[in-house]
């Protein structure tokens, strides 16, 4: 293949350290995929599982989705949100990506001793409000406390039980050549807001996380054109690059994205330029990528734009039969390159 290729874009590529868990193993990129493939799936199986945002369960005739995510965001309070709201949105969205609406959430804290109770209160209140706004409730939970230095403030794990919405039959494996790739809104705001909120790099910005629940947007899309909706994914860790690569691999299709159509807000683009980050690798928390049948794409786009969450929805590419498992970007100047998975953790570059 003569097209510019993923590994060439990270300089240099990290050495494989199979013996030790690195930060990069949690980045949502290549190392995460490797850990999943080599450690997690062999244990929990099936080894060839399609990585979906949620598992589907049928219990006594009820069609359910279940999803869990641990949240370790630092700082806990960031422009546009906090770990409580994020943990609710993240799990509600993982359910939504499978076409399910949240019925109930479970929430477990791990707290470092010395944590201010007032901050815990704020986080609980924020999580409860986010759940209520998402039409659900936190019905059960757990609180563990670990010694000073044994955790970084507070971690939250949320698990959602969802009920499948009528007409939902989405899967990462369901993308078909000819389909259109839609994005529900601007990308990379969450990740850059978080980096900006950290002190170590000394940056300030007005960038605000996009964290929000997407199940209403999804419900509207399903109502408008359920069977045309083949795949949905929220581009969180690893960004749009990971979301689309996972779909390309799972569905054994190629995906082509038009760089000029990518909705990257100006300040977000500036932050990425400054730190040498690729916005395609940076997390969003209030945005979804959808793979939809071409003949219903315009209608779905119109439906998305009629919702608050999807008002800036755009078509950014299409599914092709060529280069299965690969995502290609048509660059602004007309070139092409492969959209790679983030290799390790996201590091600012000087080069």
């Amino acid at each position: 293949m003569s097209i510019a290729d993923p590994a060439r874009l990270t300089c240099p590529a990290p050495r494989s350290e199979t013996g030790t868990v690195l930060l990069g193993h949690g980045s949502g990129g290549q190392l995460s995929a490797e850990l999943l493939r080599e450690v997690i799936l062999p244990a929990f199986g099936p080894a060839d599982a399609v990585p979906e945002d949620a598992a589907l369960l049928a219990v006594d005739g009820a069609h359910l989705a279940v999803s869990t995510d641990a949240f370790v965001v630092n700082p806990l309070f960031f422009p546009g949100g906090d770990i409580g709201a994020l943990a609710v949105h993240g799990t509600a969205n993982d359910l939504a990506m499978m076409g399910a609406a949240p019925v109930a959430l479970a929430l477990a804290f791990v707290i470092e001793e010395g944590f201010p109770v007032a901050d815990l209160q704020r986080i609980c209140t924020s999580a409860a409000a986010a759940a209520a706004a998402a039409g659900t409730r936190i019905v059960t939970g757990d609180t563990k406390v670990v010694g000073r230095g044994a955790a970084d403030g507070l971690f939250v794990t949320t698990t959602g039980v969802g009920r499948m919405l009528p007409g939902a039959a989405v899967s990462a494996a369901a993308a078909r050549p000819g389909d259109v790739v839609l994005l529900s809104g601007p990308i990379a705001a969450h990740g850059t807001a978080i980096i900006g909120a950290r002190e170590a790099l000394g940056f300030e910005s007005a960038i605000v996380s996009d964290t929000r629940a997407l199940h209403r947007l999804v419900a509207a899309m399903l109502a408008a054109a359920g069977p045309a909706l083949h795949t949905m994914r929220d581009p969180t860790r690893g960004g749009v690059a990971s979301a689309l690569n996972e779909i390309a691999v799972a569905a054994r299709v190629g995906i082509e994205v038009d760089e000029a159509t990518l909705p990257v807000p100006a300040a977000v683009a500036a932050a990425c330029d400054l730190l040498g980050l690729d916005p395609l690798h940076v997390a969003s928390e209030g945005c979804l990528a959808a793979i939809v049948a071409a003949d219903q794409a315009d209608e779905l786009l119109a439906t998305m734009r009629s919702t608050a969450e999807g008002q800036d929805a755009v078509a950014v590419g299409r599914v092709v039969a060529e280069h299965p498992g690969r995502v290609l970007l048509r660059t602004v100047v007309g070139g092409r390159r492969i959209v790679d998975l983030l290799v390790g953790e996201q590091l600012p570059r000087i080069c």
């Binding site: 240099p12 590529a13 050495r15 100047v333």
Partner: protein
């Protein structure tokens, strides 16, 4: 963003490409010196858009990749020590040393921190007198003024716990080394715009004259690179070998003299090893004697045996152009971009990595020719 978006204009890019196609009348090989320029070319797929006969060779301009293995090993050694805060630009953390890398050192408990600026390391040293704070000072002429200022600042503050592990390299000697190679294929250079913003371009005039190569000082955005290529091929087609400046908005002929003064005050010139290339005379900057107290190599006795590149690696042959990666016995077997054995696989812009990611199959053992 102003000064960025204008230089990514697709219409103008298409016009420049047409102009290049229009200009090129025979095959030419142009090297962009700088890794940042390589980055733009690869990310934008520009090389694919150039006319067939016009070949871009990627130069040695990635400070991360050319830092010698031995120095990476020293960094790893120092970073793993107690009471040391090891600070670095982010991309150095991934570079494999002989046995491990700085990311892994951090994972095992080393206090390794990513900074945006060397001045932040000085601030840490001032705040933590109980720690030795070491900054990994890599880079070309562009970065040298920043690192020089960090040393001057630490000196001004009277800090005795701030140290630099210095691996500074200089561009002109490397360009000459490339041109001096018997099988050199480079016919024109795009010189690195930010290096020239600091140094100006007078240093390049004798090179253009002596070797008869056009040199175009070039920026980093797609239009910059396309215009730089256009200016280079125009010179080639015209039979000229001059230094021209494409990056006029940022680069002046004499460069930034204040920055040059700081470099001269803090550093002295010396021989320097380049990973995968070897030692190039006069190609490095070392701390001047006046600032030897800030030298991390002096502060920390490194007792490790000398680093050694992997015996299977034929990087030398590859960099000289006498072998292709697929002929290497380690290629795509032990040696991949995720666990590279040699520099051309370390740098993702290196020849071995490029071959690998393009999916080229290794030559079966039986068919491999003895070299």
């Amino acid at each position: 963003m102003k000064y960025l978006d204008e230089y990514r204009d697709p219409v103008l890019a298409r016009r420049l490409l047409e102009q290049i196609r229009h200009t090129v009348r025979q095959p030419w090989t142009v090297m962009e010196v700088c890794g940042g320029q390589t980055h733009t070319i690869v990310r934008q797929g520009i090389d694919e858009l150039l006319p067939a006969g016009l070949r871009m060779i990627h130069g040695p301009g990635c400070p991360v990749c050319v830092t010698p293995l031995e120095l990476i090993d020293k960094a790893i050694d120092i970073a793993g020590r107690d009471r040391v805060v090891f600070t670095s630009y982010g991309d150095m953390l991934r570079v494999p040393g002989s046995h491990t890398d700085l990311l892994t050192v951090r994972a095992h408990g080393g206090d390794v921190r990513v900074l945006y600026s060397p001045l932040d390391a000085v601030d840490i040293a001032a705040e933590r007198p109980d720690r030795d704070v070491v900054f990994f000072a890599v880079g070309f002429e562009t970065t040298a003024p920043a690192n020089a200022m960090a040393v001057l600042r630490a000196h001004q503050l009277g800090l005795t716990n701030f140290f630099m592990l210095v691996s500074h390299v200089l561009v002109p000697p490397a360009m000459m080394a490339i041109l001096d190679a018997p099988d050199c294929q480079v016919q024109a250079f795009l010189a690195a715009g930010h290096v020239c913003a600091v140094m100006g371009w007078t240093q390049y005039e004798p090179i253009a004259a002596r070797y008869g190569v056009p040199i175009v000082v070039t920026g980093f955005e797609p239009l910059d690179l396309l215009e730089g290529v256009l200016m280079a091929v125009r010179q080639l087609q015209d039979g000229r070998a001059e230094v021209e400046n494409q990056y006029v908005r940022a680069v002046r002929r004499s460069g930034n003299t204040a920055a040059q003064d700081a470099i001269r005050r803090v550093f002295r010139t010396g021989d320097r090893a380049w990973r995968g290339i070897g030692t190039i005379a006069g190609s490095g900057l070392m701390l001047a004697d006046e600032f030897a107290a800030f030298d991390a190599e002096r502060r920390f006795r490194i007792t490790d045996p000398a680093a050694r590149e992997h015996p299977a690696c034929i990087a030398g042959d590859i960099l000289r152009g006498t072998a292709v990666p697929t002929a290497c016995s380690a290629y795509a077997r032990q040696c991949t971009p995720r666990s590279p054995l040699g520099a051309p696989m370390v740098s993702t812009e290196g020849t071995c990595a490029a071959f690998y990611t393009a999916g080229r199959a290794p030559v079966p053992a039986g068919e491999r020719q003895p070299r």
